[in-house]
Symmetry: C2
Subunit: 219 residues, 2 copies
């Protein structure tokens, strides 16, 4: 009996034993995706991605739902999000490597200051800052930080004219491992804006139980 229980536990472990599956999971933490989108973003062949997703499905960490021509995968529930988050925190605490890799990257990029969530919410409430969600619009629609404005990185250059020059701008993306916000802040600063990067991404935001806003359109 005891053996059976641990075997069940290990199903969770096996699901997160492959780097690519963790990458897929983190992508799914940002919202539902089709197989193709996931394959694309994780640099996998579609067949291979499908196979990994099948494993995640078998471990009940994700759900799949056929939407017409596409199959949409999503996290099974918020508990999975918390688990992934706990795992990331443990990994970061345990492996200097992870922190080091990120820090080296951040340093090379010129030490962009990071803004914390509590800090941000206070300033948002006072109307002191403009919050930018620089992820693709689809991800924005799946859920975003209250008050954030969707300006996908790819659109940023075109929308520069609409942004306030004298107000502070805080950009965020998927999370600490995502570099979209970093690039956005770089661009903004080059153009003379006062821009900073939000330390957390949407995933951490949710994991901490802070509110998420959903767009009415779609789904």
């Amino acid at each position: 009996m005891k053996d059976g229980v641990y075997t069940q536990f290990a199903r969770i472990g096996k699901a997160v034993a492959a780097p690519k599956r963790i990458e897929l999971l983190e992508l799914l933490c940002q919202g539902p995706r089709t197989v193709e989108a996931l394959a694309d973003q994780a640099a996998l062949t579609v067949a291979n991605a499908s196979q990994h997703l099948k494993v995640l499905l078998a471990s009940r960490l994700v759900d799949a739902q056929k939407q017409g021509l596409f199959v949409e995968y999503r996290l099974a529930d918020e508990g999975v999000l918390r688990f992934v988050h706990a795992m990331r925190e443990l990994a970061e605490a345990r492996f200097a490597e992870v922190g080091a890799i990120m820090q080296a990257y951040l340093k090379a990029r010129g030490k962009l200051e990071r803004v914390s969530g509590e800090e941000l919410m206070q300033r948002v409430r006072k109307g002191e800052v403009t919050v930018l969600d620089v992820r693709p619009e689809l991800e924005y629609r799946a859920g975003h930080i209250p008050g954030a404005r969707s300006v996908p990185l790819s659109e940023l250059k075109r929308q520069l004219a609409d942004l306030p020059k004298n107000r502070e701008i805080v950009a965020y993306c998927r999370g600490p491992q995502c570099v979209m916000a970093i690039e956005a802040v770089e661009l903004l600063r080059k153009r003379g804006f006062r821009a900073q990067r939000l330390e957390q991404g949407v995933m951490d935001w949710r994991a901490r139980g802070w509110k998420i806003e959903k767009s009415a359109s779609e789904d």
Copy 2:
């Protein structure tokens, strides 16, 4: 770069991808152990246990420390305990199997009532109950619930005479998957005691941040 990060993350996943390693981890959640003790309790050969422990060591989830003739393994820190706990919660929520296996067992044993932690602490404070730690004494010394008395399951029969007949008794062991407390309660009831089982084990107790008492002796 991104690939490297996820590879690091996966090291944690790989560490908990094997049932036996999870079993070892849960044993270590109850306190430091030597290789031999772990091998014994997890029903592994010593060499095999050593190998698994090496994997856990490489993933930084545990630490090893040479104590004279023995090597003592222990959790790297409390964060690991929280992680293991989060993983168990996820597994239990996700796999009906785990819950079902346990419930079937509990039912077959005659529906022993379960006592919750908050409930227990209130009654302990009022001096209404006697709390028994039925794990091996070594585990008791490594840490136990405040006010608990060490009566290893193997010693229970011999110490029956010392237990109060008219006071309520609450027994606990390692955790939900551990059956020592169940057996203890059964025995006590057969002998006419008013006995109940504490829902949590030491591990859950700690994970919730409740206090743990340590014996002064050893280490």
